[in-house]
Amino acid sequence: MSDEPPVIDDDSLADADEVRRAMEYYASRGWTDGLPVVPVTASYLEEFLATTSRDPDEVILPMPHLNKALTVRLAAINAALAGCLPEYLPVVLAAWDAFLADGMVSRAIWQSTTGTAPFSVLFGPLRTTLGFNARGNVWGSGFRANATVGRAIRLGAINALGLKPHVFDQATQGNPGKYSCFIAENEEDSPWPSLAADNGFDPADSAVTSTVIRSVLHIEARHTIVPEQLVTDLADSLCRTGALVRPNAAGFIVLNSEHAWMFDSRGWSKHDVRQAITDRGWRTYRDLAAAGKEAIAKGTGWRLPADHPDAIPQEVPDDLDTPVQLVKSIESVQIVVAGAPNAGVSSIVETFGFWDRPMAMVKVEEK
């Protein structure tokens, strides 16, 4: 990286004004997430479409209730707008395919007040070939592939599916991941096979998983080398009452490799970690009642107080410290290793699943 300030001499780019005019044109049409977008010409679009053998008119994600459909062409246009390089397109398409398989987007979740962000994880050799960051600052900025592929999804939602904030995107607050939220697994610094390998994908292939998320929680745990303490800390955050709208808790545990190696060095497999978090994935009835989330609503199935008129009648346990299981099974706890191996800092990605459906993972189809 150059030490030069990022200002270009006017003489070296004769059409800089023209570039700005094009950016302002896109902004004036509302074809943006608020940040400047890259102007897309027909010839530039062709460069993207040349990276895939898929028909440009193929519908990737139909949205019939909005009279919209995301096609390969629209996905490519929005990838270009987002600042992707053409060779990123197969990853963008696989991410969209995974959103279709996940199902929540088709169920209009991006119109919901909850305000979920698109979230994807890339596995396999394309991480390094295309320059995806899986190490330090994995949630942060600074890496074109992560930043622009994640942004391509959000721009596709806004421009192709019509999910503009204040209109069809009714998010009460949304979350910062809605600008871009695309990470890669740090397979090189992990003691375990990747999540894609766990799901039967060949390590020579690249794959993407996608789902919708509500938040990324920071887990500060530099203090322990006792696996039981760390899984207790993780389970506590995964089961915080504030996240409970539905009866159950679920999410990705994004372990930095230091934590992963700590587990491994003490003989814990990835499965052992998931099982231990699941086993601790409960709150007492007393805790839930203190937050008014001890009962389940008829109809919506959401959590609410037992004395609410919509609550399904239930018996109050004799012992208020009776555990109420929130993590249904280890399928609700998925582990990805990412980040720098330099501190005991991990995170939890609060998803809007997977308690009722399998995780969606799709192979990246390279031309």
Partner: protein, 78 residues
């Protein structure tokens, strides 16, 4: 959907969702579709407050229903 099937219906939403409701009607080809709007919020109100909102909305609900179908079903083929 009910009105497409020829059944009179009325949609009720809170003020907070009016823009979205109107955009939805427009995109589905029914600009100007009549909604009944009630004050926001709903979820955090007491039963008594909800009853009062319902009572206040009732005349408008009856008016929209009584006005007949806000969407006319297509004429039978042939």
């Amino acid at each position: 959907m009910l009105e497409r099937a020829g059944i009179p219906a009325v949609s009720i939403c809170t003020h907070a969702f009016k823009i979205t409701a109107e955009a939805m009607a427009l995109i589905l080809g029914f600009p100007g579709y009549q909604y009944v709007t009630v004050p926001h919020p709903i979820a955090s109100r007491t039963q008594e407050e909800i009853d009062e909102i319902a009572a206040q909305a009732l005349p408008e609900i009856v008016r929209v229903l009584g006005a007949g179908l806000t969407i006319r079903p297509p004429a039978p083929a042939g």
